[in-house]
């Protein structure tokens, strides 16, 4: 599969029936170019395995020293429902399927410090009000 001088090869292919997916190691060859973004890798894998790209999750891409070769991992789920069930939340967030609310590090730490001043069940009430 070459397009724009980038070749994708898969290694150690395994069908994981327990988690309803196919897992493999993805090797991308891109001499003279920067590392290929994950979205493009997904498209190419979808063409190779004749599925839609939304059930494909790839992660862990590391470029070898000197450039030109990158290895990562790829998972192809049988259906999107299985994917939502088995994939960790941060990877679903990368695809936009799940929204994780983040309250901000500073906010969390300030809340913790406010809670330190109070004892017992009042701790739950403290976080609600942001003191000016």
């Amino acid at each position: 599969m070459s397009e724009g001088a980038a070749t994708i090869r898969t290694r150690k292919f395994m069908t994981n029936r327990l988690l309803c997916r196919k897992q493999m190691i993805v090797d991308v060859l891109h001499p003279g170019k920067a590392t290929i973004p994950k979205t493009e890798v997904r498209e190419k894998l979808a063409k190779m395995y004749k599925t839609t790209p939304d059930v494909i999750f790839c992660f862990g891409f590391r470029t070898k020293f000197g450039g030109g070769k990158t290895s990562g991992f790829g998972l192809i789920y049988d259906s999107l429902d299985f994917a939502k069930k088995f994939e960790p939340k941060y990877r679903l967030q990368r695809h936009g399927l799940v929204e994780i609310k983040k309250t901000g590090r500073k906010q969390r730490k300030e809340r913790k410090n406010r809670q330190k001043k109070v004892r017992g069940t009042k701790k739950a009430k403290v976080g609600a009000g942001k003191k000016k």
């Binding site: 150690k12 897992q23 862990g60 590391r62 020293f65 991992f73």
Partner: protein, 272 residues
């Protein structure tokens, strides 16, 4: 079933139940008989498929296996009895005849309270490590012995340096092996890297490299590795007969006194 017939006809005295040993004896005998029957069949060329002898063999084998743990528990008694029968009488000074004396197991607390009160304070202050395994005693080793040992080790190390290995290859008559140079630092880093990639691929996860490993890889792959090309090991142990002085090796060179930490914890920058 021949045995069963005999047993039911009360030929054997089974009023007290068959003794364990007698049962084992009979089972072993019948196992042997069945086995010889089967080997006879095989040697004559007739097939042994669906032969009732095989079923009997399997049955006897399972019973024997079940009897084995009981046998193990009885082993001590049986051995003792056999020994007394062989020796023809119990020897009064036989050490195995004695049982454990439970009274000796109670710690005599009266003795401990009689210890000197002066010694007690000293004892409680000095820390004595628990004696778990035998340790090598080095007290009687003289300076000379220590020096000799150090020298021997240095000699052994010097023998395996690259210089001497090349000398040996020059004069040896076997075929020369041409291999790419295996420097020890590089091989260690390479081995670690290989292990890590293998683990990562097996378990579908990525590791973050620790600072130590990162520095090692940088050191190996960077320009500093070129300095080691001209660095040869110290073979003074063989040439001059004395152990090499420490301090020449630059592997663990620490900065002479780390920078003093300021109040906030970072090193104060010198302003000239």
């Amino acid at each position: 079933d021949h045995l069963l017939k005999k047993a039911t006809e009360n030929e054997y005295n089974t009023s007290k139940g068959i003794s364990f040993l007698e049962l084992k004896y009979q089972l072993l005998l019948s196992y042997l008989m069945n086995l010889t029957y089967i080997s006879l069949q095989k040697s004559q060329g007739s097939s042994i498929q669906d032969d009732p002898a095989i079923d009997r063999l399997i049955e006897i084998r399972t019973v024997l296996e079940k009897m084995r743990p009981i046998d193990k528990k009885l082993k001590y008694q049986v051995d003792k009895v056999v020994r007394t029968a062989a020796s023809g009488g119990t020897d009064s000074s036989d050490p195995l005849r004695y049982r454990a004396n439970p009274e000796n197991l109670i710690s005599k607390l009266d003795d401990e309270s009689e210890s000197e009160s002066e010694g007690e304070e000293k004892k409680s202050k000095i820390y004595h490590p628990p004696k778990l395994t035998a340790m090598h005693y080095e007290g009687d080793e003289t300076e000379m012995d220590k020096d000799q040992k150090v020298l021997e080790r240095a000699k052994k190390r010097a023998l395996s340096t690259s210089m001497l290995r090349e000398l040996r290859e020059e004069f040896s008559e076997g075929p020369t092996e041409i291999r790419e140079t295996t420097s020890t630092q590089r091989s260690r880093a390479e081995r670690k890297l290989r292990e890590r990639t293998h683990y990562e691929e097996e378990n579908f996860m990525r590791f973050s490299v620790s600072k130590k490993d990162k520095n090692e890889m940088k050191r190996v792959a960077g320009l500093s590795s070129l300095n080691n090309l001209t660095h040869f090991d110290d073979i003074s142990a063989l040439t001059e007969g004395r152990a090499p002085q420490a301090g020449g090796s630059s592997k663990k060179r620490k900065h002479g006194g780390k920078g003093k930490k300021g109040k906030k914890g970072f090193k104060k920058k010198r302003i000239h």
